[in-house]
Every structure is written in structure tokens, then in C-alpha cells.
Subunit: 124 residues, 2 copies
Amino acid sequence: MKPTDAELEILHVLWANGPSTVRQVHDNLSQNRDIGYTTALKLMQIMYEKGLLSREEDGRSHTYTAVVTEEDTQRNLVDRFVETAFRGSASKLVMQVLGQHKASREELDEIKTLLNNLNRDLLD
Amino acid sequence: MKPTDAELEILHVLWANGPSTVRQVHDNLSQNRDIGYTTALKLMQIMYEKGLLSREEDGRSHTYTAVVTEEDTQRNLVDRFVETAFRGSASKLVMQVLGQHKASREELDEIKTLLNNLNRDLLD
DNA sequence: AATGATATACGAAGTTTTTCGTAGATGCAA
DNA sequence: TTGCATCTACGAAAAACTTCGTATATCATT
């Protein structure tokens, strides 16, 4: 259920570009790093067997689609990450991230709005 | 440099309890899961070779100390995680975490304070 | 001195993840 | 129709991580 790092790379391509062939995914990945065509193929076949991807015959090749959504996957990954890296303390993670990374004013405002809503919930 | 999951477990024990023997670390880990004594020993030896831990003879046994701090390690882990899971978007991670996890009012207030400071910085 | 408990070191098996070579099928162009 | 490009399937090597058995040394107790 938890995608590995290599699997995550492929999911990101599919989430960004929609259903794609192995060739398309490989072309995309190749821009960032060295990876053989059959490596990408094999990974996608494994992911298909695991149920992470679906696929459809498309002439001589296959078109693959992500079965899991980006949001669901990220939710799972965050859960694990909070556990293993922060021993369950989500707010510690948030503090760490906010202190460490730049964000635009729009993003900060968005976060503040979310925080206000959370605060209101708590007060009820 | 990046600790594996098993290594992270051991680091957490050392961060929480300070310098410890293999026995102490193993006793601690055993509370949460099945793990052989020699497994813990081996892991700590490997971590020593990697430079993640230092150690000191203490009679017949060794006392191990974390070389890396919890903060530095978490900073590294967060960087990687933002990259692999959120393709670099730290604020997306924050939103996801805040929406997903419960936090106490104190924690939320703390985060808001931090946010206000960040906002002020941006406005200058 | 013998025994039992406990320590390290070492090697290696077991798992999971990543990578790719090779074989065989199919399409296309000369 | 021959040959080149491109696809899948398959197997298996390579790498990274986890686990533990066994040998050996040392300490404490009888």
C-alpha cells in the first residue's frame, strides 16, 4: 500500500500528466535522472500488480492510470512520516517546516485561515 | 547520512534517554515490538561505523551516544520528504498536516505566533 | 574452578527495492 | 519480405535494509 520512492516518482508523473504510456513516463523521468526504459516498465508492471495503477491496452502498448489519488497517498505518507520522524507530534512537524521553508504571503494567509477555522472548532 | 527507519528508532531512544548501552536501548525498543538483542546490537554497530553514533567503553560494554541532533536530523528528513512526497511544496505539506491531525489550542497558538512572525518578515 | 548470565564481533541469511538484459511479438518503412 | 524500431514479459542480478545465529570473552556467584 505504501509506495516506495521509485513508485512515488512514477505516481507524480501520472498525477501531473494524466494517463500515460511507459514511454511517456520514461521520457519524463529521464529528464531528471538516469533510468533505463525497462526499469520504468518493470516498476509500472509491479505497481499494476499491486493495484497502484490500472492499465488499458492501447494498440501495441499500454496506457497506465494512477488508481490512488495524490491526496490519499499524501495523507498516508504524512501519517507514517509523523510517526517515524516526529514520534507522532504533528505540530512539531509543522513548526519545523514553517521555520525551514519559504512560503509566499498567499500561502501563509491560506494557512492562517485554516488555523483560524481549527481554532474555532476547538473553542466550541 | 539519512538514517533508515530502524536507525531512526534507535536515535529516538538515545535522544530521549541520553547515552545508553545496547541493553538499555533494546529493553526500550522491546516494549513496542519484537526485536532480538543482537539485532539492536548490530544496528548500533553499523550506526557507529557510519558515524551516526559515538561510543565509549564502559566496563565490559559500550555506551552509545547520538552524534547527530534530533533537530538536524528532522530538518534533513523534512527536506527529503517535502521533495519526494510533495514535490517541493512545503506549504502543501503544512496544509495537509493541519487538516489531518488534531492539535491542542496551545500548539495552534504557537503555530499562529510563528506564522505572524513569518508574515511580518515578508512585509518588510 | 566451574557455571550461568551477559557482552561484543562476525558472518550470513532473509526481505525489500531497484535495476536491467534478453527474448519474443508487432508495426512500419524501404 | 526483410530489417529496424519499439513494445511487453520475464528472470534475475544488484543494492539496500533487517534480522539473527554462533563463537568467543568476561564477569559474578557458587
